[in-house]
């Protein structure tokens, strides 16, 4: 490789790694702002601001969903297996919403640290399987569940 080319190679490497380092440090500094949602543990610790719009993500606790018979009001608990948050929502839930499903809710924390949600989105995991396989896994109790760290990065 002649010196000219070598020099240009170093410039190219400098661009790639220089920009990489700069962007990497910026992202690291901003990482809390890049997270789409707060986990129940962060909310329990008081890291999430109150009385402002935030998102919270977690798993819907089995047996915690209480639907009002007269209206669309629904209340459920959301957990990352360490802490949980109660969510109140008035509206239509996504099709994938069910107990044991990961969700992301947008809303405000009230004085009791409960989330008054205005939007609920379903967060599905990376596991896909045919219904028969899912039935078999369910019966054997081996259904893959999202891990706590899915909501706590």
């Amino acid at each position: 490789m002649n010196p000219k080319r070598k020099q240009r190679l170093f410039i190219v490497l400098f661009i790639v790694f220089g920009v990489g380092a700069a962007v990497g440090l910026t992202m690291f500094a901003l990482s809390q702002n890049i997270n789409l949602f707060y986990s129940p543990t962060q909310i329990a610790k008081g890291e999430a601001p109150q009385a402002t719009r935030i998102r919270a993500g977690g798993m819907v606790v089995e047996g915690s969903v209480k639907r009002d018979q007269q209206s669309l009001n629904v209340t459920f608990d959301m957990t990352d297996y360490e802490n949980s948050v109660t969510v109140h929502y008035n509206g239509i839930l996504p099709d994938l919403f069910r107990e044991g499903q990961g969700i992301v809710a947008q809303g405000e924390l009230d004085q009791n640290n409960q989330l008054q949600a205005t939007e609920v989105l379903a967060k599905h995991d990376e596991n896909y399987m045919p219904p028969e396989v899912a039935d078999a896994l369910e019966k054997a109790g081996n259904m893959p569940k999202p891990e706590a760290e899915v909501f706590n990065k």
């Binding site: 490789m1 002649n2 080319r5 240009r8 190679l9 410039i11 190219v12 661009i15 790639v16 920009v19 990489g20 962007v23 990497g24 992202m27 990482s31 890049i34 997270n35 789409l36 949602f37 986990s39 993500g57 839930l93 996504p94 099709d95 994938l96 992301v104 939007e119 609920v120 989105l121 379903a122 967060k123 599905h124 995991d125 990376e126 596991n127 896909y128 399987m129 045919p130 219904p131 028969e132 396989v133 899912a134 039935d135 893959p144 899915v150 909501f151 706590n152 990065k153």
Partner: protein
Amino acid sequence: MSENKKWMPRWFYQLASPRWSYEIMGKLLPGFAVAATLLLIGGIIWALAFAPEDYQQGNSFRIIYIHVPSAILAQSCYMLMAVAGAIGLIWKMKVADMVAKSCAPIGASIAILALATGAIWGKPTWGSWWVWDARLTSMLILLFLYLGVIALHSAIESEATAAQSSAVLALVGLVNIPIIKYSVDWWNTLHQPATFTLTERPAMPAEMWVPLLIMVIGFYCFFAVSLMMRTRNEILHRERRSSWVRELIEKR
């Protein structure tokens, strides 16, 4: 000089010749075209008619067979564009510049396809067309980078300057590729993590991932076909004054 030649394989230096590249691409084209047609048609039929439906999402999950290949290809195409741009910068190889230029519009269309299928998939499953999470946003930035490269190429009249500046933009934007890839691991996102990893078994059974793999290979073959067609056009256009192109046109 003879010492320099050993630094890279022979075909690398042959690629520097527009005529040689034009001819070798012409020979490779039919094979890739046949492979792309067979793989895409076979893959689509398998994916839509024979692959099992998902236990949670039912049939709407089948859009994965377009969404995942296009998302993978949009990133691979960007990497190729950046590497070709770097080769053009370092070795001043015209053909590499032409490859980089031809990558941009193809990559932009594929990125749009990935974003559109993602939005169509997101509405029924998540409940929202679009969320500003790290994965979706970084993918949108990838599309903007492609558009930036296309804009630079058409804004600068001198072909050499246009190639240089868009190669620099492509190299700067290269930092986005690992961000797209690892966004779902680094931050809390609505987008689920990768189903396929190099280290673990795929998080879906074989009757689902085999057609997906066929679609991915089919997308790559289709990309090879369209890239070679575009590059051949670009070679003819830029070498229009050379004698071999004139002869080629007169023979038609």
